[in-house]
Symmetry: C2
Subunit: 424 residues, 2 copies
């Protein structure tokens, strides 16, 4: 995966510090290494970029499925979330990092409360991430009222600004949960610090109706009216769009993250991904949170996005495997403003690399590596992961995290969740 | 999984010979065992039933994706299939059995050429299966003309009739590739021996148009006209149905196998699964062949069928996890006329049992085992498999198959496939 989609058979990659120092079809004789990984029979790829998730929601995985969206939100997710604290978010984020590393993700973009805990968990895991505090009009269990939310965000930006792994974004939840004041202030903070503004847009028809009723506008139209659209926007979902909305997205070079599994499971709708890519927009791929997916497996998400576009357009050629793999790597990185660092295997880029072991029945024989990665492989086929030059998983053993401890702590938090909900 | 959906926590199951001899919430003190498997932290389930596949097509996995259906068939699949022989089918079927056991399938229903080789591979793997020779009007590389195809099918029925694992069906490819004579004769053979008649029905709109043009009828209408509908029919796909067709399926108690991943990938359409189940039809789940999926992972297929129904109906409550797990176990077994033997954990049933290890980040915490199995788990989470009382996989190691040898032989066959196609 480089800009020319070069496929090297029997090649090698060398890493120096945090950086890719050599890629070629043979071992460079002038290089020596303190550690050599034999990837015979495997595919070496840039680490996958999960463009949109709510990591700590791993702790709500499977809590309430197969129920109407509003009942899911108001009967389970919102009541549970009203109780969460820093430690809850830290534990859930560590659980997510463990799952993501084990399934080939090396970079993720997160939106949640107590975002500093998400950043700390990512740092502890040695994962690359774009993190931000979810901002909205109702009181937050973290920051309380919105002015404190802005302050919290500014502190996050200051705290992590020189970190090699963690980047901070301003994250306004959505045009229907954020006032014009919140959206404009969030935008101003993002512009001031030169960071992205992450926002859910046009996920459900209910949302469209709400914004229409409130402002007489469509979501992107409303955001354009507020003057907050631009190439710093990372718009999650983007399911319900008409020609005029897509025109606006193109005009302002908005970045898109699509979340097909979540959109299917919550019956939100089908994003016009094929068209958005044809129109030249940068479209990455995300799992969304575990409560609506219910996993963080980007290899499965690739399969889902390809198949969903094919069936939606009744066209088996829609969204081919190469395009999908780009969404999960270089395009996703670009969408998250991390394209200079990660998302491809190129000299000088940060060494974010995964190894997919293909010596398995479901990956045999091998006619086309793209097909196998998108349509046949799953997260469990990833054997090694390197992030920023550091080996974080070796033969599926996590090297930066204590898995037993994380699983134990996650189960303790689940007991709390059940207590919270039993009191309703 | 029993008819009452009993969930036993901290229980045990005992097997005597090929049969389930005890199920309960504690170890029965009157039982002793020569082998004990500790399934602590795991879910014990009936083995999954893959209701429709073409096992040997594992050897075409990833050969040609993202291209129009007719180009896929006439440019790749049909030319390659014109060269295949018994050894090719045997190798591909062994590869499929390895993949299926590794992903939790214990029973499969197959349709392919050289079906005796499929049966032999299943027997060698110690898998339960319903196997039949694909019958159609054009010459077959196995049997040549159709009269020989009928003879071959009769010989298969005789050969395997007392086998504890292998059952034989008559398998007429579809109403658009089989003449009325073939369909009626196939039906007569099935009736004579009391075996199922497996057939692809209403998979694509092209097929509907063809049957309409030829016979002025819809697919099930045509089959009803021929007098071949009945509860012995296992109808694969059933995507394009109107009220009158569904009425016919109900009247004749037709069994259905849905194949959502294949239907999405080939852009065939979306089967009205939720409605068929509400109408009381028996609906199982299948992966279809690997050339159109591209794997045989029934745990992933469960996720796909649930999400596809939700998005198709724009209803997050459609096809809940419990219903889906039944499709992949008891309902699938029933659809394949194997419901008396397998598909549930009940005293006296054959011991077809899998163990799903949940001590993993993506299966933690655990609020609802059904949700985890359908929405979070994948084939790689299955640690053990027992078929007909025999342990065939232990801690993911295959006990009945030589995996290295199968992978080696599969790669050799792929070299042949590339040679065949390069000559076109």
């Amino acid at each position: 995966m480089d800009p020319h989609l070069t496929v090297i058979e029997n090649g090698s990659i060398a890493i120096k510090g945090d950086t890719i120092a050599y890629i070629g079809s043979d071992m460079n004789p002038s290089l020596s290494a303190s550690k050599i990984i034999d990837a015979n029979g495997s595919i070496i790829l840039p680490g996958l970029v999960n463009g949109h998730t709510h990591a700590a929601m791993t702790l709500f995985r499977g809590l309430a499925d197969d129920i109407p969206l509003m009942e899911w939100l108001s009967g389970y997710i919102f009541p549970a979330e009203s109780h969460i604290d820093a430690d809850f978010v830290h534990t859930g984020s560590l659980l997510a990092c463990a799952e993501m590393i084990l399934s080939g993700t090396t970079t993720f973009c997160d939106m949640y409360m107590f975002a500093d805990e998400v950043a700390k968990a990512a740092k502890q895991s040695s994962m690359r991430s774009l993190v931000g505090e979810g901002l909205y009009d109702f009181p937050s269990p973290n920051y309380g009222s919105i002015e404190k939310g802005f302050e919290y965000t500014e502190r996050l930006i200051q705290k992590w600004k020189n970190d090699p792994l963690i980047s901070i974004a301003v994250e306004a939840h959505s045009p229907y949960t954020c006032s014009p004041y919140l959206l404009k202030t969030g935008h101003a903070i993002a512009q001031k610090h030169g960071v992205p503004l992450v926002i859910h847009v046009a996920e459900t028809l209910t949302e469209l109706a709400e914004i229409q009723a409130k402002y007489g506008k469509k979501p992107f139209e409303f955001m354009e009216f507020l003057g907050i659209l631009g190439p710093h926007i990372i718009a999650d979902h983007c399911v319900h769009l008409d020609d005029s909305e897509i025109e606006r997205m193109i005009r302002h070079r908005v970045n898109v993250i699509t979340n097909p599994a979540s959109n299917m499971k919550l019956a939100s709708g089908i994003a016009p991904v094929t068209r958005l890519i044809a129109d030249g927009l940068t479209v990455g791929l995300g799992t969304d949170g575990c409560a609506s997916n219910n996993n963080l497996d980007m290899l499965l998400e690739m399969d889902t996005v390809a198949k969903l576009q094919k069936i939606a357009l009744m066209d088996p050629t829609a969204l081919d495997a190469v395009t999908v793999l780009k969404m999960a790597t270089c395009e996703g990185a670009k969408a998250c403003a991390l394209g200079d660092l990660t998302g491809s295997l190129e000299l000088g880029k940060k060494a974010d690399i995964i190894i997919v072991d293909t010596r398995k029945p479901h990956l045999t024989p091998m006619y086309n590596p793209y097909s196998h990665l998108v349509y046949s492989a799953g997260g469990a086929d990833v054997s090694h992961s390197i992030i920023n030059g550091r080996l974080v998983m070796e033969y599926r053993r996590l090297l930066t995290l204590d898995l037993e401890d994380i699983l134990f702590r996650a189960k303790e938090k689940a007991v709390l969740v059940k207590q919270w909900l039993s009191r309703i």
